[in-house]
């Protein structure tokens, strides 16, 4: 029942997104604008500051992710459909996981466009180690989205949710973003030190486990009142 509920929520979210394309367009537009502004500011004569690409990638993921989280739950608020999900006799943690998987899928789709763009604009060898890059980006996105999905769901009825979401989200996800930046920077070194990359990926996976476990544990009581 848990997996079936997750699948139903993910399929519904992706169907709604394919029809409206609202989150994909806004997230991508914001992320691309962000990368372009930094490219004009930081790239001089075709050379960027060392490790700038790593920082820009994670700034773009964090900012556009916050936008996507806000819109994903605004959609559930407009017709109070989040209440309908909570009223269903489905495990509430499964509803959280379904929303989380949908957000991660959207952000990964945006990252697939962002990464080659950053590699090109910053002349950074981001795609030199695709397996490790995928491990870093996906594990970091899961950690960021795990906390973001919980907070966005919690704040869905708060009047100042657009202000509160980043205020709550960024301090808690700073470790994920720092680990993501350091892991990505390690991938940009001329000689790849696998031990260092493995350490950062392990740290990101540890954050994922902690954040997802805490969110699963707290989602039902937080959403009940």
């Amino acid at each position: 029942m848990f997996a079936r509920t997750v699948w139903l929520v993910v399929r519904k979210d992706l169907t709604v997104e394919v029809r409206s394309r609202e989150i994909a367009y806004t997230t991508l537009f914001f992320a691309v604008s962000c990368v372009l502004v930094f490219a004009f500011a930081l790239v001089k004569e075709g050379r960027a500051i060392t490790d700038a690409a790593a920082g820009i990638l994670w700034i773009a993921i964090a900012f556009s992710g916050t936008l996507a989280l806000g819109r994903a739950f605004e959609r559930e608020r407009q017709s109070e459909t989040l209440r309908a999900l909570l009223l269903a006799p489905a495990p509430r943690p499964a509803i959280y996981v379904g929303k989380l998987v949908g957000i991660v899928a959207l952000l990964v789709a945006a990252e697939i466009i962002l990464i080659p763009m950053i590699a090109l604009l910053f002349q950074a060898p981001l795609l030199a180690h695709p397996f490790w890059l995928a491990a870093v980006v996906v594990s970091g996105t899961i950690g960021f989205s795990a906390v973001g999905t919980l907070f966005a769901a919690m704040l869905v009825r708060a009047r100042s949710r657009d202000v509160l979401l980043p205020v709550l989200l960024y301090p808690i996800t700073v470790p994920v973003i720092i680990a993501g930046v350091r892991a990505t920077a390690a991938l940009l070194e001329p000689e790849l030190d696998v031990a260092i990359v493995r350490f950062w990926v392990a740290l990101l996976l540890a954050f994922d486990v902690v954040f997802v476990t805490l969110a699963l544990w707290t989602f039902e009581p937080l959403m009940t009142d």
């Binding site: 139903l8 519904k12 459909t81 309908a84 009223l87 006799p89 489905a90 495990p91 009940t224």
Partner: protein
């Protein structure tokens, strides 16, 4: 009841006993008590801010009471109940809110099939098809809900709330935005639910439409229950008298 993959509890009566609910220092409801059995339509009547929607949220298990208890047959919900919001209990409750709980981007069929599947109904597509027939919307089944009129959306929303055959049906202002024909159809549907053994709790301002429909009226004002009347007649006059007296 509809064939479901999920466990559901069943009950013959609903008892609300000294229920209170506070939001911080604000008291939304204070010591409300009433009872409803099967084949009953109970109306929660009162002005804006009387606490009707809060009461429905607690009955739907979306809010925990601050005090008192709600008994669904032998199952209890309250601040100290062991498992106040179990999935099995939610499987026996259907809610039509003031907002319609529908995804405007999805078609009527997709909305109904999604919620049927979420309620664990094995043949969710068949359940959606039957619900669309009942709503009289089979010919618009694949149109997005955003293209529907308020009355059509309300009919889809009612079928969404009832798709799993709930024992307890909670309706918050179900007559809002309906034309005369749609309102009459809704009254007929509510009478049908009563005949089928459901417990229907209805919060409404529309006393003319509720006239003759209710088996019991519970009058609320400022979070307090001011009167409860069985088989109320001349509802508008009674409402005026009760509200001016208290």
């Amino acid at each position: 009841m509809t064939a479901s993959l999920r466990a559901s509890v069943d009950f013959d009566d609903l008892a609300v006993e000294d229920i209170s609910r506070h939001f911080g220092r604000r008291r939304a409801l204070s010591k409300i008590t009433f009872h409803a059995g099967r084949n009953t339509i109970l109306g929660l009547l009162g002005p804006n801010g009387a606490g009707k929607s809060t009461m429905l949220s607690m009955l739907a298990t979306l809010l925990r009471p601050s005090g008192g208890r709600i008994r669904y047959g032998s199952h209890e919900a309250g601040p100290h109940a062991a498992a106040p919001h179990s999935e099995a209990l939610r499987a026996a409750i259907g809610v039509l809110g003031h907002d319609l709980f529908l995804y405007p981007e999805l078609s009527a069929r997709e909305n109904l099939a999604f919620f049927a599947a979420l309620h664990g109904i094995a043949a969710s597509a068949d359940a959606a098809r039957a619900a669309l027939q009942r709503a009289g919307l089979a010919d618009r089944a694949d149109d997005p809900v955003s293209s529907f009129s308020r009355g059509m959306r309300q009919r889809v929303a009612l079928e969404r709330a009832l798709i799993h055959g709930p024992r307890l049906v909670l309706l918050d202002e179900p007559f809002t935005g309906l034309d005369d024909a749609s309102a009459a159809a809704l009254v007929a549907r509510l009478n049908g639910l009563r005949e089928s053994g459901a417990i229907v709790i209805l919060a409404t301002h529309d006393l003319d439409l509720a006239e003759g429909l209710l088996d019991r009226a519970v009058f609320l004002r400022d979070g307090r229950m001011v009167q409860s009347i069985d088989r109320p007649d001349r509802l508008r006059a009674t409402y005026r008298a009760v509200m001016t007296r208290s």
